[in-house]
Point group: C2
Chain length 442, copies 2
């Protein structure tokens, strides 16, 4: 226990910051080690991030894809879970700084991931929320659903079209998946629910600065994703750099697009903690680590998961910020620590084994590359589903998500269309109203 | 459509405010009538309120017990749904006031329910949240789960016990159900998840001003509920009037109870709109209505559901604020309006048919009175489950809730233990920390 750390200094104390794929995997791989582990996270849940866009688009409930970290680790006796945010660390003195005080450690493993990057324009954040946590997803869901509510009562045609315009900035997997799901809502889920608006006229625009979608995928699949989205009715703007975002729309070069709904899926940067460590960062604020994932000069401090900038020794390429890489890094570092503690394993540099990548675009549409082979359409979509059901935290969640998906597939419904939090719609000129604001009692 | 109201003044316009049990039932019973209905609600969802405490105690997800109102009514063509909050109405001129302007109507049906009443101490609201909406339930869930997180890192014994003390004020059905569920979490759900705290020591206190629980139930069942709760380890305080609430505890007479978690289930009052109408209200701010549920002097203005103060002509008793009564009032007023529009039905005063009441206390424990017969224990608990599954909005939700319940029953788990929203724990003296705040970088 934490309070025993000073009493029993014989067991090495391993502090792991972040309960995502990397941190959690590392903890699990140390289950048999004779160590005291502390796992901290700012949330109480482990999130299955690849399905987060389905929470944002009202297809799944948060509990379907997130589980309390301490529940997952309840049977592992050498770990305690603390809900806290790391503020900084003295890597030399081996002290981690939290708001409540300093925690000493023998090994520090940073796995706190990345956050949205607005490329220096943090004032865009409230106008164009990103998608990293459950709270982000609920905020996006709230805005999307409120937009339809506002449009339904809006008699002003231009204001109504702006309500029904959804702009997704960033054509990576998250952007592609969000754009597809938003179009599905408009075209399949809600048409019959409204009386005044034709929801099929809702405009979904996917904006990407580069000349193709899914930049980290093979080019062929980027082209297929573009075709699929266009067939579904998504307007894709390639070579389009967003130069300004304001309430009510975005600017691309000299063009202004009216839109009440803007979602940011364009960039990430290392979590804030990295800046407070005084170590080498890359341009995206990720920590540059050695071949064994430790920070140069601090062999007992590791960085794993999305926060790590690591070059794969085989391919010479930077290891991508994906779940598979995070899990492999967590495994690797757990092994490294076990080796340092006396286990007889070889000391090899980290290598990334790319098991493929995939993105879903819509009903019966996905793209996937697995072991060098490419898949598209219905078959890729099926593979996507299978691959994303299995890693869910427990059998109960697998069943619940499978049930939701099968149900939605046949009913074309989205089951979680609840507006929670602030729920006030903004209407310029409401239908059926005989006088304006000025006469109103407030 | 709303904008057609002025164009086609031939169809009567029925404005229904509130999509709870009463309002929704009224809309449905007017499905065949040649009218234009507008249903407004401040939320976009219809909530199955009797299961709301299960969202607050992490057993069910919000989407299990709430569905978009417009989805429920998608196939009823004579109704439009508007998400808006009624601010007031000119009953003489038949104009309803909304923030966006005035809406004219021929019939007004107020079904906006009740809200928490702190008996004039509205400053207690942030300290002791009540349970009426999904947002309320998520706030209570957040506080309960954070309390355990704080306790786990808290080395100060008194502060830890306060973290683990949950006080529920009010011994009606909601208070009884909440207290039982909170004790179940402590005793069955989370024990293995924590290392520093023995969650079984968590204290749940149910405070009731009267000399018995479940005042609206037969006395025998109130006594049984008391026994059941005590057997489960809940501390029940009868004849205990809360005289003060502050951050960190409550005062009962001269006694102060330390508690970081206080939930208000003690009183309700009519929703705010009632005060703006200039009509007769009872002490709880409910609208006093005539035998036909209309407001005296305004025969085309009805009040139904919890907001109505109505005396049953058969029993001479006030009709209770329960779902069954709300549904019956909705049906009755729909029939009244159809009669006024020419349908051939009799004009009789409203009578309430009491089909019984029930409350669940915990695993295998409930109390129920149905058609004059009393049930307790396992059998009452089974009846409770059956009765609460069937009215859920659609087959999908019935299945999902049934699945959750069966799963939880065998696993003794609560599946929705997610902390969303503000997630910072307050720790007086954390375990395993070597220095205090003053030395910290912020």
């Amino acid at each position: 226990m934490l309070d025993n750390l000073s009493d029993s200094p014989t067991k090495p104390h391993i502090l792991i910051v972040g309960g995502g794929f990397a941190g959690l995997q590392c903890v699990k791989q140390l289950a048999e080690a004779d160590v005291d582990i502390t796992l901290t996270d700012q949330h109480n849940y482990h999130l299955f991030q690849p399905l987060l866009y389905q929470v944002a688009t009202a297809a799944l409930s948060p509990a379907d894809i997130a589980a309390p970290i301490r529940r997952i680790l309840r049977n592992q006796q050498n770990v305690r879970v603390v809900m806290a945010t790391l503020l900084g660390a003295d890597l030399q003195a081996k002290l981690a700084h939290f708001k409540s005080g300093d925690v000493p450690y023998d090994y520090l493993i940073l796995a706190s991931g990345v956050t949205h990057s607005y490329f220096g324009r943090d004032d865009w954040a409230p106008l164009a929320p990103g998608l990293k946590s459950i709270d982000d997803a609920l905020e996006i869901r709230r805005r999307v659903l409120l937009a339809y509510e506002a449009a339904e009562w809006e008699a002003d045609a231009a204001a109504r079209q702006a309500d029904l315009t959804f702009i997704v900035v960033g054509g990576g997997p998250t952007g592609v998946e969000l754009a597809g799901a938003l179009k599905e809502i408009a075209a399949q889920t809600v048409p019959k629910d409204f009386r005044n608006i034709d929801t099929a006229t809702a405009k979904v625009v996917l904006v990407e600065a580069a000349d193709r979608l899914l930049g980290s995928f093979p080019e062929k699949l980027g082209i297929r994703a573009l075709q699929d989205l266009q067939q579904m009715g998504v307007e894709v703007r390639l070579n389009s750099l967003v130069t300004h975002i304001q309430s009510g729309g975005i600017t691309i070069g000299t063009e202004f697009l009216d839109a009440e709904n803007i979602i940011w899926a364009a960039g990430v940067r290392g979590s804030e903690i990295a800046e407070n460590l005084g170590v080498e960062l890359d341009k995206q604020g990720r920590v540059v680590v050695s071949a064994d994932l430790s920070i140069a000069g601090f062999p007992d401090t590791y960085v794993i998961g999305d926060l790590a900038h690591v070059t794969d020794k085989d391919s010479g390429q930077q290891v991508p910020g994906v779940a598979q890489a995070a899990i492999q890094m967590g495994e690797y570092v757990a092994k490294e620590i076990r080796r340092k503690l006396g286990e007889d394993t070889q000391n090899k540099p980290f290598t990334y084994s790319d098991r493929g990548s995939m993105a879903t675009i819509g009903r019966n549409r996905a793209v996937a590359t697995i072991a060098g082979r490419h898949f598209t359409g219905f078959f890729a979509w099926l593979i996507w589903g299978v691959v994303h059901i299995f890693p869910l935290v427990n059998f109960r969640r697998k069943l619940a998500v499978l049930f939701s998906w099968v149900w939605s597939y046949f009913s074309r419904s989205k089951n979680v269309r609840l507006i929670t939090g602030e729920a006030r719609i903004k209407v310029k000129k409401p239908f059926g109203v005989v006088s304006n604001d000025d006469d109103k009692p407030s």
